[in-house]
């Protein structure tokens, strides 16, 4: 029986150009069709600019630009970077963490010299977050390497941890880098932020250009403050309609990835606009941009607005200048989504684009639930799952692991009252529901990690997770099965012991 969603698919997805996206073929068929229509030729990204184009001396011919193009224009001091063009860009913030930092530092020292200094000690943010609460000696050593470098270079922002036994004993320690960047005010509209992590695209929620790079590129930026980038064309996603109370940003991005596939946005920028987007808070916008990389996207952007400025008020003291896509900017593809017609989703094993309706997976018995990571471990994410537990009043049927992304999130869980609960905190609601005690903040088991990582999947189990990837072995065991879901869906699944639709608890 065809689902109502599929029948009305064409009204939900009306792509502008004659693409096949209005149809509802399987991702692999659509991927093939996408390749045939794809704009993305893999041209060289690392060549030096052949003929540097300076602004025309007679006055630049004005043409409309997208947000991403405008950000890169300002950062490169080129008036109109064209999609496909390789340009040198000034970097505002470079972030690295304990997994890629040591390698980046190694390259920096090898290439620029043992005694070289970083380009700007205030523009590098070093955040241990991946393999922290572990007895793995190399992992611990890697944090030491970061510390030594930060001392040597007098790096202004280093969120250090020394006492692994009690995260609260470390006043500087934050936790997951992408959330820490936002909470510490390092994300600003109009800027260029790079990080040695694929989910650096999260910061695009602030209306900036943010993308992930490898150690070598980062080493280069560390020394020069510049990077060679290929200007991406933009895919525009216009989301309208009132957000149903059983949907979260995670459902929106799973919908989109399921539609365009894991390679649908390769080398492209994803821009999210529309009334639904305007109604999202910052953490929900971060969730949306966070998984842009799962569609292959280079960066994601949400235009800055009052919500953004309000969030930044108490965190940031630097000037910034937001930019916005021109009305007649050229987008290679536009998608219109009527959010009110969407339903809670999961991404089934083993791909983030293996989209399915949660309600059609109710026969899938699960072994555990994981609520955490940059994607689904923020304060709003825990409030969302608490809401479901509260509505149910029952206990979870499977081990439910809670890993707050940062110290601040952990504190929020233990101190902020959940609306409609009579003053209970998230932590109390979680305790009453029989969840595990919220763990020390870090990336945790989202990516498996060292064997002793809390909540790592060491057996071939079935897990519903609020994280971002479910490729084979992602959370540890190669035969583990991971269903990606929103915090609502994850909590609902914990309560039933099966993949569940949160409407069963929220409506």
């Amino acid at each position: 029986m065809a689902s109502p969603l599929m029948a009305s698919c064409s009204s939900i997805f009306g792509a502008k150009s004659g693409s096949s996206f209005a149809s509802c073929f399987s991702p692999s068929i659509r991927a093939h069709s996408l390749r045939k229509h794809a704009l993305n030729k893999v041209l060289a990204v690392m060549a030096p600019a052949r003929s540097p184009r300076s602004p025309s001396s007679t006055g630049s011919v004005k043409h409309a630009m997208t947000m991403t193009e405008k950000i890169l224009a300002r950062a490169s001091e080129k008036s109109h970077p064209e999609p496909g063009e390789n340009i040198w860009v000034n970097v505002d913030v470079l972030m690295t963490h304990d997994v890629c930092g040591p390698g980046t530092i190694g390259i920096f020292k090898k290439e620029f010299g043992k005694n070289a200094k970083v380009w700007d000690r205030e523009k590098i943010v070093i955040i241990p977050d991946h393999y922290i609460f572990t007895s793995d000696e190399r992992a611990n050593r890697n944090v030491d390497i970061l510390r030594d470098f930060c001392l040597e270079q007098n790096i202004k922002y280093f969120y250090d941890i020394k006492d692994l036994g009690d995260f609260r004993a470390n006043p500087d320690y934050k936790g997951v880098c992408h959330i820490a960047l936002a909470q510490e005010g390092h994300c600003r509209p109009g800027e260029v932020l790079l990080g040695t992590d694929s989910h650096t695209c999260t910061a695009g929620a602030f209306g900036q250009f943010a993308t992930g790079i490898g150690n070598t590129d980062a080493g280069f930026v560390m020394g020069t403050g510049k990077i060679l980038l290929k200007v991406p064309p933009t895919l525009r996603f216009i989301l309208d309609g009132e957000m149903p109370n059983y949907l979260l940003a995670k459902d929106l991005i799973l919908q989109i990835i399921g539609e365009i596939t894991v390679a649908g946005a390769t080398y492209k920028s994803m821009e999210f606009v529309g009334s639904t987007i305007e109604g999202l808070n910052m953490e929900e916008r971060m969730t949306l941009c966070n998984m842009v990389v799962e569609a292959g996207g280079k960066n994601g952007v949400v235009p800055a607005d009052e919500t953004t400025f309000k969030y930044l008020e108490d965190k940031n003291s630097k000037n910034f200048e937001p930019v916005y896509s021109d009305d007649n900017a050229r987008f290679i593809q536009e998608y219109r989504i009527d959010v009110s017609k969407l339903e809670p989703l999961v991404a089934k094993p083993h791909s983030p684009d293996n989209r399915a309706l949660a309600r059609e997976c109710k026969d899938v018995k699960i072994d555990r639930v994981y609520i955490g990571s940059c994607t689904g471990g923020k304060t709003e994410d825990f409030f969302a799952s608490a809401k479901v537990f509260l509505a149910s009043g029952k206990k979870v049927k499977v081990p439910t692991f809670l890993v707050p992304a940062t110290q601040k999130v952990w504190m929020d869980i233990y101190s902020l009252p959940v609306p409609g609960s009579g003053g209970k905190t998230c932590s109390q609601i979680f305790e009453e529901a029989g969840c595990d005690v919220p763990a020390s903040p870090s990336c945790g088991a989202c990516l498996g990690g060292p064997r002793d990582t809390y909540a790592r999947m060491n057996e071939p189990q079935v897990c519903v997770s609020t994280t971002n990837r479910n490729f084979p072995g992602r959370m540890g065991h190669r035969e583990g099965q991971i269903y990606l879901a929103s915090p609502y869906t994850a909590a609902a699944s914990a309560l039933t012991g099966y993949v569940a639709d949160p409407r069963d608890f929220l409506l």
Binding site: V45, G103, I145, F220, K298, G449, G473
Partner: protein
């Protein structure tokens, strides 16, 4: 690049690759126009030395009989490489040997599982260890032949053939590093995820080559003997007798030839040459 000054002499590290060695030897023959068989032999020699493989019995410049499906023949190179403009330029890279075949969407967690990311690629001994774990994340049911054999630290497969979106997932540079450290020289895939492609070029660890068409991986089997001729944009599967057009590696080629983005930037004068 303004502001980018190399202050120290980059030490000769284990990360330098075949191309650098070939470049060095090519530079040594300044003024001499390299003969066809010299460069083919030389590139192959370096490649084989590096990977501990045995030498072929003879290197023939005659055309191979591609319709033969018997045991793999010794390397025949079909056409002479393009004449190089400057003597210091290397001949286009060529890779030969058994191939390892993968499907679509091979993500970085399969290439190098997260638990091994505590290894720091810029440390030579940990670099080697990364190589020993290359592709260990592949599900064993689907991939019965391990990329790196039991007890081995390097692979016997210099060429990887893959489907679409190779290297998707994480930005971890450990992924192309693990492949390169294991001894892979080139990946021939239908398409790449952007960060992996970028990292391959920046490190110079593997050539990320694209096939012109799709479905190449379905016609090849792990163990087939192949030759990748970058200069001819050609992949030859000697075992099946089929040939496949490749997209030109373009500007990424010289960067990888030079040994990565830093080496290339110095070679082209983009950043200052190191001085003592």
């Amino acid at each position: 690049v303004e502001g980018a000054e190399a202050l120290g002499f980059p030490s000769h590290s284990c990360v330098s690759n075949m191309a650098m060695a070939a470049a060095a030897s090519a530079a040594a023959t300044v003024g001499a126009k390299p003969s066809f068989s010299y460069h083919a032999t030389h590139a192959l020699l370096i490649s084989r030395l590096r990977h501990g493989l045995s030498f072929p019995k003879r290197i023939s410049s005659s055309c191979p009989t591609l319709d033969s499906r018997s045991a793999p023949k010794p390397l025949p190179l079909r056409r002479p490489p393009r004449a190089t403009a400057a003597p210091a330029e290397t001949a286009p890279a060529t890779f030969h040997g058994p191939c390892y075949v993968l499907g679509d969407n091979i993500d970085t967690d399969q290439i190098i599982p997260a638990e091994y990311l505590t290894l720091v690629p810029s440390k030579p001994d940990e670099y080697e260890k990364l190589g020993s774990y290359a592709l260990v994340g592949l599900p064993s049911a689907a991939y019965t032949t391990p990329f790196v054999g039991p007890g081995a630290t390097r692979t016997r497969f210099p060429v990887i053939i893959a489907g679409a979106n190779f290297g998707c997932g994480s930005s971890r540079e450990h992924a192309p590093v693990a492949l390169g450290a294991a001894g892979a020289r080139a990946v021939v895939a239908e398409s790449y995820a952007r960060i992996f492609f970028r990292n391959s070029v920046a490190t110079g660890e593997v050539y990320p080559v694209e096939s012109e068409g799709v479905g190449l991986w379905k016609e090849c089997t792990t163990g087939d003997i192949v030759t990748v001729e970058l200069g001819e944009n050609l992949l030859v599967n000697h075992t099946t007798g089929k040939e496949y057009k490749l997209k030109p590696i373009g500007d990424a080629g010289p960067v990888i030839d030079a040994g990565g983005i830093f080496a290339y930037a110095r070679k082209t004068g983009m950043i200052a040459s190191p001085s003592n």
